[in-house]
């Protein structure tokens, strides 16, 4: 094999309940946020992705279109899909860090109150689903 190494190795968790295209989008976004992918980096071709992870090529196209829509990537005709120069992720990165700190604090409090990891996840899930029973 003389092919060059891919810029990102995708993973797919079929049990997560998260749509496969969303998983790809999230992994690219996180890689950009962490600096593992930089402006101008080429994303692996659809053909390469489907030999990396077992996934429908239409799903990869879909994920790449979504990344373009988010301004994180751009398609260059006949060349492939590339990370945009100066992708705008730093603001989210900063606010994510603040949110993560708050959540960390909350998790400590929840553990002290006797909740285990699953209890916390269930509670968060219910809140995200606007399940008001948790508030009563």
């Amino acid at each position: 094999m003389t092919e060059k190494q891919p810029s990102i190795l995708f993973r797919l968790d079929p049990r997560s309940g998260i749509a496969p295209y969303r998983q790809l989008v999230d992994q690219v976004r996180q890689a950009v946020e962490m600096g593992r992918l930089r402006g101008g980096d080429q994303l692996p071709s659809v053909r390469d992705v489907v030999t990396q992870v077992t996934i429908n090529p239409n799903t990869v196209h879909r994920a790449y279109r979504e990344l373009e829509h988010l301004g994180l990537a751009e398609g260059r005709l006949g060349l492939g899909t590339f990370i945009t120069q100066n992708p705008d992720v730093h603001t989210t990165e900063a606010s994510n860090a603040e949110l993560a700190r708050q959540l960390q604090l909350w998790a400590q409090r929840a553990r002290a109150a006797g909740l285990n990891d699953n209890d916390m996840l269930e509670l968060l899930r219910r809140i995200l689903n606007h399940d008001e029973r948790v508030l009563s």
Partner: protein, 306 residues
């Protein structure tokens, strides 16, 4: 729209006194990897065999790539690759002999593709078919189908009974083919995990009927769990069909298909996973559903023939 890869109208097949398939009206658009899911005996193989032209309908119509399968249209044979559950290969043959047989019987055979694929899978052309592992045999059988370069691949449980690595290799080979040649695929499977990752169209069968046929993404978007305390459960909102209901002493949860946008505020709405949706449909009519109407779920797809 381009011609659907498979389109049926009130398709039915009877074996003696038993219906193998009935009231079957659906279509699979072009450009899809479609999963056919259902319990054993639901009619999946019956449907696939008819699509491949290996058996004729008792009544109703089926068209594949715009032609009637098995009606003596030789061009359709070239355009469709069919892989049976039993993966027929000649046991005494070597792999290269199987390929020469394929070349001799298929005018569109691409020998370079066949060699390339087995090479990547680490299978030697000199290997004898009866010395191959089950996984390798499945890979050679699929390669035989792919080398024919069909427009439509019909695969009956292509990855059944394979170990996880062989499965993964086989499905990647398939996805690569879809990426490179835009091949249409219709495959039956019991592995729900595969459905979400490799398929983008879903056909669910139960008791010889089609109970759902739709774009995978729309399937997820159009189903919701509705939950409420069972003591004062509100009336179901307009435009929902109940697929499955679960009750505890405190709560009642319906899995519903929405035919109208949900505006209701009285139910707790949560998003089901694809597995949960498929499982609910597979439970339909098996007797394991708990009370609640079942008819709603099938009205949308059942045809007029009885």
């Amino acid at each position: 729209m381009t011609t659907p890869v498979i389109e049926t109208n009130a398709l039915a097949k009877r074996f003696g006194r038993k219906w193998g398939l009935r009231d079957c009206t659906f279509s699979i658009p072009a450009g899809k990897v479609a999963a056919l899911v259902g319990p054993n005996g639901a009619g999946k193989s019956t449907l696939l065999r008819m699509a491949a032209g290996l058996s004729r309908p008792t009544s109703g119509q089926i068209s594949v790539l715009g032609s009637v399968p098995g009606a003596g249209d030789p061009s359709l044979l070239k355009r469709v690759g069919y892989l049976d559950q039993v993966r027929p290969l000649y046991q005494g043959f070597r792999v290269d002999e199987m390929f020469r047989f394929g070349e001799g019987t298929n005018p569109t055979w691409n020998m370079a593709t066949a060699h390339d694929y087995v090479d990547q899978l680490g299978i030697s052309l000199r290997d004898r078919v009866d010395n191959l592992s089950g996984g390798q045999r499945a890979q050679v059988a699929l390669t035989m189908c792919l080398a024919k370069q069909p427009e439509l691949l019909i695969l009956d449980e292509p990855a059944a009974e394979l170990d996880p690595v062989a499965r993964e290799d086989l499905l990647r080979l398939l996805m690569r083919e879809v990426a490179e040649r835009g091949t249409n695929v219709v495959l039956s499977t019991h592995a729900l995990g595969d459905v979400g990752s490799i398929c983008d169209y879903l056909v669910i069968m139960s008791h010889s009927r089609i109970v759902l046929a739709d774009d995978l993404e729309f399937v997820v978007e159009s189903h919701r769990f509705l939950g409420a305390a069972s003591s004062n459960a509100p009336a179901l909102p307009e435009g929902v069909a109940v697929i499955d209901t679960r009750t505890s002493s405190r709560e009642v949860t319906h899995l519903v298909r929405m035919t109208l946008p949900l505006v209701d505020e009285t139910w707790q709405v949560t998003e089901p996973t694809l597995d949960e949706i498929i499982m609910a449909y597979l439970r339909l009519g098996t007797g394991s559903t708990l009370s609640q109407p079942r008819h709603d779920a099938t009205t949308a797809t059942s045809g007029g023939v009885s």
